[in-house]
């Protein structure tokens, strides 16, 4: 297991997340894509903290923990917004909620 193994795994997760954000037409699926992207980012932090910095330096892991907390807060706000959009429009397809479209 080298550093590059982890980097390849996380770059695959990242591009799958981008793919989900670009193609899915359901807001919750887009949230899942964002979670994939955040996970790949946290994995990168942990991998660099293990392989590049000295062994007892775990700053990268702490940044990953902060990333997890941010992802949780983001998911809560995202789902609250989705709920009120659903109440307003009756759908959560992002291209149907076009009231502000010029």
């Amino acid at each position: 297991m080298t550093l590059q193994h982890y980097l390849v795994i996380s770059s695959i997760l990242f591009s799958l997340g981008i793919f989900a954000v670009l193609t899915r037409r359901n807001a919750i699926s887009i949230l899942m894509g964002i979670e994939l992207i955040l996970n790949s980012c946290n994995l990168n932090f942990a991998a660099f903290s293990r392989f590049v910095t000295p062994p007892d330096d775990i700053n990268g892991q702490i940044i990953s923990i902060f990333g997890i907390v941010l992802a949780a807060a983001e998911a809560a706000v995202f789902l609250a917004i989705i709920l009120s959009i659903y109440r307003e429009f009756g759908t959560i397809q992002p291209d149907r909620t076009d009231t502000l479209k010029g």
Binding site: L36, A72, I81
Partner: protein, 175 residues
């Protein structure tokens, strides 16, 4: 020797699990199936954290993501899909174009990873670290991460209050 072989076998199994279930998350049509694939993928990432000797991080991943975020997502699915079918619509043109963009990004990242000389061939040195929980606790509560920790706790509070405000039902006749 035997131990190393078993270790790398388990590592590749976790990596395969993670990537396969991530592919399911982005391709499966039924949104509940996608959510459960996301759960498997999150467990796989937690396993990779264990391989990086980040024990506290792996536990946090399982507790916060699988126990919190995933349950939130499932609640979101059930409150917004109703009795309608839970299929996700995908347009063919969008599918092709999005796939192209994602593949280009993947190619770019892979070429950067394989061409950066500092990242080449850094092996796992096999040193077993001490459990990180004690160290992390000291760094967060009295080390250099005290201020970010307090800031993030305020951010969590703001996010929770904001989420409750945004999602509450409008009460009629309230002035």
């Amino acid at each position: 020797m035997e131990f190393v072989a078993i270790k790398s076998l388990v590592f590749y199994a976790f990596a395969l699990f993670t990537i396969a279930s991530a592919i399911l998350v982005v391709t499966v049509r039924n949104i509940v199936h996608a959510a459960f694939s996301l759960m498997i993928m999150l467990f796989g990432v937690a396993g990779l954290y264990v391989f990086l000797q980040a024990d506290f991080l792996a536990a946090t991943q399982v507790i916060v993501y699988v126990g919190g975020v995933l349950v939130l997502i499932l609640f979101g699915v059930m409150m917004t899909s109703g009795r309608l079918d839970m299929r996700i619509q995908i347009e063919r043109g969008q599918f092709v174009l999005g796939g192209l963009v994602a593949a280009l990004i993947l190619l770019l990242l892979l070429s950067v990873i394989s061409n950066t000389p500092q990242w080449k061939g850094i092996e796992d040195d096999g040193v077993i670290l001490e459990p990180t929980t004690h160290h992390i606790g000291e760094m967060i509560m009295k080390g250099e991460f005290l201020l970010p920790f307090e800031v993030i706790s305020i951010l969590l509070l703001v996010a929770l209050i904001g989420a409750a405000m945004v999602s509450r039902q409008e009460v009629r006749g309230e002035e």
